[in-house]
Structures are given as structure tokens and as C-alpha cells.
């Protein structure tokens, strides 16, 4: 991957993170979970998925399903950068006059399906991938999952069935930020060795640093990983990535900051000192 491409991706991701931080007030959003998924989402739309604003309804487009729906600020931020969503609409977050709330809905162009209840979209994406196989088209179908989401049994049903139907056009991308709602995953429901688990279920698995565009590019350049197998990419990430004051903290999943704190955090993103946060940490699950 060329140096200037990496630089461009980094700049885009930087702007998406700013959008997320700005959405983390006046009601707030799942800031920590959105910041961890930002780089993979930016990468997928910029480099991997064959979809544009003109082809959003084209049956031959590639699909992205956000099963971990609470990180939708990262997706909306990306849509703004792609030019699919007017930037000022982000200011309507949680307004009854618009469609932007804590989980995705299909009124926003680019959202393929609503989500929020965990463990659903692996099966929905599987149905789409299965239809692409039936019709002999070469669409790629990506489903982004949270690691906490892997607690849901329906995820593993979908892995088994995808394997049975040899859906090598389907990619389950795990945002492995090592936290679920209130706890580190390994302290609540341990997932490791995660690669082995997916491999044992019949998938072709790769694992990379989910904040390293070169690594993401190398891993996905060989898609499908193996003919006839479900693709699983485990992207190791950090909750709250980009903001050291909230990074990798169990209590910074959902955040509702004051306007001053948002300004401080934007400064922190730009490299200033760590923000002093007085807003209470929130337990929403």
C-alpha cells in the first residue's frame, strides 16, 4: 500500500473520529465502541468495498452490515467523509426530526439494514451472501461484529451455517477491542484463543492490528482467504482509540460529555494534553 494512500486513510479516520467526538454530547453515544471500529470502517469503504453513492441500490454492489450497531457514529462519520451524508445532519443526532440515533436505520442511505440487537446481522448477511451465490454474482458481503457480541449463540449458528454453504464471499470482521459493555471480555466471558474457535468452526481466519492500514490491506488483499470457506478477520483494536484519556477503559463505552469536554477531547485528538473529564461514567447496560 502506497505511503500517500495510508496518509489519506489516516486523515479520513482522523476526521471521522472528530465527528464521533462531536456526537458524544447532548445525549451522547457509544464513543468507545465507535472509536475502536473507525479505522476498519474507513478502510473497508475506501479500499475494499465496491460500492459508491451511485450504486447504493445496485444488486451487484458489495454490502456492509454493521451487526455491532452501537458503533454507528463511526459509520455515519464515514458516510459524511464519502459525501453520502451532509455533515450538518450529524448535529441532528438524537433529534426526533431526523433519523440519527444510537443504532442504525435504513433511512440513512448506505445503511443496509437496521441493527442494535446483537447477533442478528451475521445471519442476515449470510442470507444476502447465499443469494449472491445462488445468482452467481461476485458481490462481497461484510459483517462487522463486536467481540462482546460473540457471546450470542446466534453468531455461532451463522458461522456453522456459512461454513456448511461454503460462503467464501462472506466476511465476518470482529472489532476485537477486548471490552464488552461494562467489562474486559477476558474477565467476563473469555474469548481467547479466538482464532482457534473460528478455525474449529470451519472458517478461514486472519488476525491483524485493526488500526494498521497496511496490515488490514495485506490481510484483505487475499480475499477470499480460502476457497469455499467463510472468511473471518479478527481486527485487534483499542476501545476509545485516539483519545488516551478514555482509551481501553471499561467505563468509557457510552459517553455523554459536556461541550467543554468535547472541545478538550478534540484538542487531545490533535495531540494536546489529555482532557480532564468530569462527566460521570455511564453504565447503560
Amino acid at each position: 500500500m502506497q505511503h500517500k494512500t495510508i496518509e489519506r486513510l489516516q486523515q479520513t479516520a482522523f476526521r471521522v473520529r472528530k465527528h464521533i467526538i462531536r456526537m458524544s454530547t447532548d445525549g451522547g453515544c457509544f464513543t468507545g465502541a465507535s472509536l475502536s471500529a473507525t479505522d476498519v470502517i474507513v478502510y473497508l469503504y475506501a479500499e475494499f468495498l465496491n460500492v459508491t453513492q451511485e450504486t447504493l441500490n445496485d444488486p451487484n454492489r458489495d454490502y456492509l452490515f454493521l451487526s455491532k450497531g452501537h458503533d454507528v457514529p463511526a459509520l455515519y462519520g464515514t458516510f459524511v467523509e464519502l459525501g453520502w451524508l451532509a455533515a450538518d445532519r450529524l448535529q441532528h443526532h438524537l433529534s426526533a426530526g431526523d433519523h440519527l440515533y444510537w443504532h442504525p436505520n435504513v433511512n440513512i442511505p448506505g445503511i443496509e439494514f437496521h441493527s442494535g440487537s446483537l447477533g442478528h446481522l451475521p445471519s442476515v448477511a449470510l442470507g444476502v451472501a447465499l443469494d449472491c451465490k445462488l445468482r452467481g454474482t461476485d458481490n462481497k458481503v461484510v459483517c462487522i461484529l463486536g467481540d462482546g457480541e460473540l457471546n450470542e449463540g446466534s453468531v455461532w449458528e451463522a458461522v456453522l451455517v456459512a461454513n456448511a454453504y461454503q460462503l467464501d464471499n462472506l466476511l465476518f470482521l470482529v472489532d476485537r477491542n477486548f471490552f464488552q459493555a461494562n467489562m474486559p471480555t477476558e474477565e467476563l466471558i473469555p474469548l481467547e484463543p479466538l482464532t482457534d474457535k473460528f478455525t474449529a468452526f470451519g472458517a478461514a481466519v486472519k488476525r491483524v492490528d485493526g488500526h494498521d492500514f497496511t496490515a488490514l490491506d495485506e490481510a484483505l488483499s487475499t480475499f477470499p482467504f480460502q476457497t469455499g470457506k467463510l472468511n473471518v478477520l479478527i481486527a485487534d483494536t483499542r476501545r476509545g482509540k485516539g483519545l488516551p484519556s478514555i482509551e481501553a477503559r471499561a467505563d468509557r463505552w457510552f459517553c455523554n460529555f459536556t461541550h467543554d469536554e468535547v472541545d478538550e477531547l478534540l484538542g487531545e485528538l490533535h495531540g494536546s494534553a489529555k482532557a480532564t473529564l468530569e462527566s460521570e461514567t455511564l453504565v447503560v447496560r
Binding site: H114, S117, S123, V124, S154, E157, A158, Y165
Partner: protein, 305 residues
């Protein structure tokens, strides 16, 4: 023509149809051969099957999905509600052995809250055919519609020649009566028919309505029956809560009218598992038992005058 032949014919004529099952092949035994790759068996994964059906529907398919009623309506409930319901996708649910039809399986397999659950989902339509003839008459319309639907599959042979063509939201008024009108759906129609004959033989004027379409429901048929008959009786292999008795109550209330309505349903308990004829006998739902129970109510009705 049986269920499988009708589905095969429908699917072969229109390649939007895919047939899915969570390894419940009783109704679709030959379809792997006849339909090839458009027959999709996801194994014992009701949730995954419904999610995948939603995905297939997003791509323009019409999935007709099969599973045992209890697991389809409850194991996969949130997937039906969230993926199919919110998405308002044309996923067609074929619910096998609902109500008393799970006879000897025991309470794990008894779907006797399915009507309540399914009609609680916006956009979902609910149909309960009286027998195989009724079932086959309604399926083409249901499958061709653009909405999600839940059908209590009933392939028992018809004891009655249904003449009124099926229409979504319309009941089949078999007879009208001034003493009592029996409102019934599904496999108990056959018993209600026997009960109606028996009551007529005893000199009563008896109405009988095959409800068929529970959502949307035929409000007019309910209101007319309430206006005509002294007593309405609802007969269902379902919990008392949320089924036909509730639908009738809601309808009367909505139209600011009232009636004496006597429910025959399962009250706060599962039914005794046994061979079907013994289930009916034990639970008091044979035609003759129903007639006796209704006659008692009519006597009470007279004495209270």
C-alpha cells in the same frame, strides 16, 4: 394437490421463491430434489434461518420457511420481530404442528401462545386454516402478498366443503344463528362443526364461523354475530390470553358494543400430551363435549334472563 405440491409448483413457476427449513422436512421432503439450491436447510438453527430469510428477502426473494410452531414462534421470536417485522419483509412462516397438533410431544412443543405473539408484531399477518382444503385455498394469496405472514399449518383432511373463496381479512360464515354463534379457527373447526350439528338437533339456532384470517380479522363478521346471537362462543387450541377471545373482546370494545362471550381455550396451563383424539377428549374439545358445554351455557343464559 397437497402442501408440498402447491409449494413446488409455486416455486418452480417463480424463482423469487426459496424454501427454507430448520431441519423440519416433514412438509417438504422432496423439495431438495425438485428445487435444488433454492431449497435451503439451515439445520437446527431457527434464529439463523429467520435472519438468513430476511437477508434473502432483502435481495428480492420470497422465503417460505418451515419449523415446528413452538420453535419458530418462540425460539426465533426476536429474529422474526426484529429482522422480518421491523424490516417488513415478505417472509412466509409455515408453522408446523401448532396448537393441539403437537399431540404427544409434551409442553416443550406446544405452541399455544403463537397467535398472541405473532399478532403482536406490526405488519405480521396471521392465518389459521380449518383443514387442508382451507390451507391450500389460502396459501397462493398469502404467498403472493408483500407482507410477512404466519400460517398455522393444518393438513388434516376436510370434513366440510369450503365454498367461500379465501380473502385476507375475511372469515367464512358457515351458518348464522340466533341462539349461539361459534367462532373457531384451525383444527378445532372440525369439532365445532360437529358441535353445531348436535346443538341444532337439540333445537338451537346455531351460527358457525371459520375465522381463517386472525390478523387482519373480519370485524364485520364478529359484530354481526354479536348482534344476532344471544351468546358468542370462541373455540381455540390456544391460551385464553391473546388469541381469538382477546381479538373478539378488542373488536367489541373498539366498536363500543358488547356481547356475552364464552371462551373455550387453555387457561393458564399446558394441555395433556397424548394421541390427538385423547387430547381432545381429555381437554373437553371433542364436538360432542363442546356441544354439551355450550348447551350448559345456553341454559345458564336462559335462567339469567
Amino acid at each position: 394437490m397437497n402442501y408440498e405440491q402447491l409449494l413446488t409448483q409455486t416455486a418452480l413457476a417463480d424463482d423469487r421463491y426459496v424454501v427454507m427449513t430448520a431441519e423440519n422436512r416433514a412438509l417438504v421432503r422432496n423439495m431438495p430434489t425438485t428445487l435444488g439450491r433454492r431449497f435451503i436447510d439451515t439445520g437446527i438453527t431457527e434464529q439463523c434461518m429467520i435472519g438468513a430469510a430476511a437477508g434473502l428477502a432483502l435481495r428480492g426473494r420470497i422465503p417460505v420457511v418451515h419449523a415446528l410452531a413452538a420453535f419458530l414462534s418462540m425460539r426465533a421470536y426476536e429474529f422474526i420481530r426484529t429482522d422480518v417485522g421491523i424490516g417488513n419483509l415478505p417472509v412466509k412462516l409455515s408453522s408446523f404442528i401448532p396448537g393441539f397438533l403437537s399431540d404427544g410431544n409434551g409442553p416443550t412443543h406446544q405452541a399455544i401462545e403463537d397467535v398472541a405473539l405473532m399478532r403482536g408484531i406490526p405488519n405480521m399477518q396471521v392465518f389459521c386454516p380449518a383443514d387442508e382444503q382451507d390451507l391450500l385455498a389460502m396459501l397462493p394469496t398469502i404467498w403472493a402478498s408483500s407482507t410477512p405472514s404466519y400460517v398455522r399449518i393444518n393438513t388434516r383432511p376436510a370434513a366440510y366443503q369450503h365454498e367461500q373463496p379465501f380473502e385476507i381479512g375475511k372469515a367464512e360464515v358457515v351458518s348464522r344463528g340466533t341462539d349461539v354463534t361459534i367462532l373457531v379457527y384451525g383444527m378445532l373447526f372440525e369439532q365445532a362443526l360437529v358441535a353445531a350439528h348436535q346443538l341444532r338437533d337439540a333445537g338451537q339456532s346455531v351460527g358457525l364461523i371459520n375465522m381463517r384470517s386472525l390478523k387482519p380479522v373480519d370485524e364485520q363478521a364478529i359484530l354481526e354475530a354479536a348482534a344476532t346471537a344471544q351468546v358468542l362462543v370462541t373455540v381455540e387450541d390456544h391460551f385464553l390470553t391473546g388469541g381469538l377471545y382477546s381479538i373478539v373482546a378488542e373488536t367489541l370494545l373498539k366498536h363500543r358494543t358488547t356481547a356475552r362471550v364464552v371462551p373455550f381455550a387453555l387457561k393458564e396451563r399446558w394441555y395433556k400430551p397424548a394421541r390427538l383424539n385423547e387430547v381432545l377428549q381429555y381437554e373437553g374439545f371433542t364436538g360432542s363435549q363442546l356441544a354439551d358445554r355450550i348447551a350448559e351455557q345456553l341454559t345458564e343464559s336462559l335462567t339469567s334472563l
